[in-house]
Symmetry: C4
């Protein structure tokens, strides 16, 4: 982000950019903390506002806080757009869309009154927490997890395909064995029961009534109980791999070809060859100096 | 699969074989996607057809879709048989049996009317998803998981034997402590409760009523909660091992026979022999040049 | 087990010993399979006999099977004792005690009639499955798991101490917040609820009623949901270590000190030194022969 | 802890210090065991005292035991303070605060009668179990687990942030779909349901009633069922790393400073320098002998 720091408007834009998009100056940090507070307050108001007793008692207060925060978030978005050189690109990005979603529902109520269903859209504001996490430098941890997730994605997809097949077959089996009175009124309903049982949630709203149904349920529960080892095992292995590879540089030693050096390594662990090909080995300098001084 | 591409009928067979059994040409890919769509539609129709309201309203539509898909799957199977040189061998294979199971129940209804119970057999169609997974090149991931499962099979069998013993003993104990009013009417019923509790499903349909029963339940729940670490640990270890071994090439060193080289390795880790037999060792070139330049 | 195979009684004893305690001859294998069948039949009879309808209908059949099997197991135990040189040592061992427990309850009924409560003791017969597992050569797998369990025992004990403290504190907290009407009638009852919640069993027989109680429950459930990672992680790490160490011999190379050689290794992986100190390196022999032949 | 062992009062203080704060003499061990017994008895009395039937029947006994133990714990704390040189520093430490909390509530009842709510504060006594664990030398295991927890802390925090977002969004979604009759009376109540479902607890007190609600619940349950692999994988990886690093000695090579040597290593893996500074390098001896023999 090479910004020309010209005086006047340009200087203001650059300064605002530093405060809003970065977090290395005291002003930027104060802004971040204020933003975190505003987001959490906003989420809390929505949550409490959905409880009838609180809505009746503190309704007007919630209303004013909501509008105050919406105006604040709108101003923030305007400033963000103002200090970026390509504001449209930002509005199309993930963070830009989340920023828009955070304020649009409240403004829409002015035009379309009584839009109660939009409460859920407003709660998409929690996604702004991602920005906070980025500010708190959780990026390294997140990328490690995403890296491991990406590597195990295909195995996890395979796992869910297998789950889908098992659930469908057990659901069809239970649908023919159990009566609709026990809750197995259709195959999709049986699938709901099968997932409730296999994931070990076990609400107990639908429960097998016959002896045969109970026997099959036991098999399904043991399957669900032990099959969890599959994604856990795959993911564990990938996290271990990601952590290990993160510690090593990917370049091989020009001397012996050993390719698992610590990222900070200057000499090859195995043969002592100088690894940084762009600069000269300080040992050689010493030798040259020794030679010339002789 | 060396097929002689002769003109006429033979050429047609070879072409059909490519389209149906492989997935590397545009025609073959289009066929695969159509097949995936047909299988998922067929499963959806069976699922929705089991819901009474939908069955009443859209019954005839479901009936026609079911027959259209059954005729399509039958034609597909006939073409498969036609373009294979040993069709009986295919019909005896896993995929052949699944293909037959996918169409037979619907045809059987013509002969044995009102065979409602066959609905479950029809749902075995979901197993055809395995074929889709194969087409989507999930083979590598599946073989990795199967490899790890095979390695941990004996430990997992041992784990289930231990679970069976624990469940039987706790069930017998609870059967003597708790009264039939609480649901513990027999030892098999107690075993059902023990599995529901140990796998952390916890329906709540059978629940201990006495203080002693509750104390024993606490031990069983803590056991089930922590014992899951056993299959998870074993499977994790085996996945890690399988992934690690996947990193090594399977070719042995021509010098010393060492067969666990990194796939990128050019020289043997143990004896330094040049591993790539198709090209010349650059070291030799250097030596030759050195020799000729002298 | 060096047994002198003398003719007559001694020869019979040795033969019986081979059949009963080992599993490498056809006769021994037939005996093993018969024993497995008898144990499973015996357990099945006890399980089915506890179901009232079956007990009424097939009561006498169960009675005769039970007695037939008890007499068979008694004969088996007598033969075991007969062909061992130190029978008392066997009766005091784990397997001996299980063998006694398997037959004593049925015999005791002759002396103490109507001993219904002994049904649980009879089910200790399932522990005889351990013997079957040993016969099926599951020993290696079991010792691997036990090895990993032993290594992680102290961490697991620590884990359960932490669980106990968390459960006690949350139980006391919920006891003061929730009313007895919701089921929190005493601290031990609250502890039962806390374990049901923390182990993710969730029967639903005791459930928080107040808003504050629900908030605390959320924390407890998230704690239980994520804390399972602790024993799983510890056990995974120990299994990986056990598998790895099982593959390597523990002796170091006399040449370079490298101490992670494959158990089958004859030469050091790193420096090529002959590892078996009890015999001579075949390469040296070759050299000596070469030298002498020159 | 350099204590001058002078005769008289000072000698008594030193002796008491050894008995109370250490555990390597017979007297100290006897004290530890007595302390463990007293703590467990004290916890048991509080637990049983909360059960109405027991409280009525054995109330006075519990009262006397409670007071006896409180006086004992008070004396113990006084002795602890007496034999320490900086008692205030101890009272401000974690163990000091727990010791105070263990006795203060009972004494407070004398001043503020009928302080029933203080029962929970008294149960903080279970935290004294930490001291027992320390005495039983569980420190190594605890530090290993804490080390792994510290390393995975940021990833676990990230995991809980993601859980919070998923729970909030699913709760808002279900609040708009499901009716208040099914229990989804507010968004916080929906969040309680979402956590109950996602952690696979599944009480069954709030359950989806509509088909769409059930479909969303299935997704949430599968998410919760498989997402547990994330903290487990991260923690497993960190435990493996902690164990591995425990295998290395912490001393650096005097030659090159490399500090990850196997605890059994005698020569530096990197530069071959002799690591044991207390004895002489056997290679040097050989050289000297070679030199002298020439």
């Amino acid at each position: 982000m090479n910004l020309n720091l010209t005086p006047g408007a340009e200087g203001l834009r650059a300064q605002l950019f530093h405060i809003i998009f970065e977090s290395d100056t005291p002003g930027a940090k104060a802004f971040d903390i204020a933003l975190i507070g505003a987001i959490l307050l906003s989420v809390a108001v929505i949550l409490l506002g959905s409880i009838e007793i609180y809505a009746e008692r503190y309704g007007p207060i919630f209303f004013y806080i909501e509008w105050a925060l919406t105006i604040l978030f709108s101003l923030e978005l305007l400033v963000r757009i103002y200090c970026l050189e390509r504001p449209l690109l930002y509005l199309k990005s993930f963070y830009g869309i989340v920023d828009l979603i955070a304020i649009l529902p409240t403004w829409l109520v002015l035009l379309v009154p009584g839009a109660h269903g939009l409460v859920i859209v407003r709660l998409l504001r929690v996604l702004r927490i991602f920005r906070i996490l980025r500010l708190m430098e959780f990026v390294g941890e997140a990328s490690l997890l995403l890296d491991a997730l990406k590597r195990s994605l295909r195995q996890i997809l395979l796992f869910f395909s297998a789950i889908f097949m098992v659930v469908t077959l057990f659901a069809a089996l239970m649908y023919t064995i159990e009566s609709p009175e026990a809750g197995f009124t259709s195959i999709p309903m049986s699938m709901y029961w099968a997932i409730v049982s296999m994931t070990t949630v076990g609400y107990g709203d639908i429960v097998p009534a016959t002896a045969l149904g109970k026997a099959i349920t036991m098999i399904l529960m043991l399957l669900g109980y032990s099959i969890i080892a599959v994604p856990t095992g795959v993911f564990s292995a990938q996290v271990i791999r990601s952590i290990r590879e993160d510690r090593y540089s990917e370049e091989a030693c020009p001397g012996c070809g050993h390719d698992r050096h610590d990222k900070k390594a200057r000499y090859c662990l195995r043969c002592g060859t100088w690894l940084d090909e762009d600069s000269e080995d300080p040992r050689k300098k010493d030798e040259n100096q020794d030679a010339s001084s002789d």
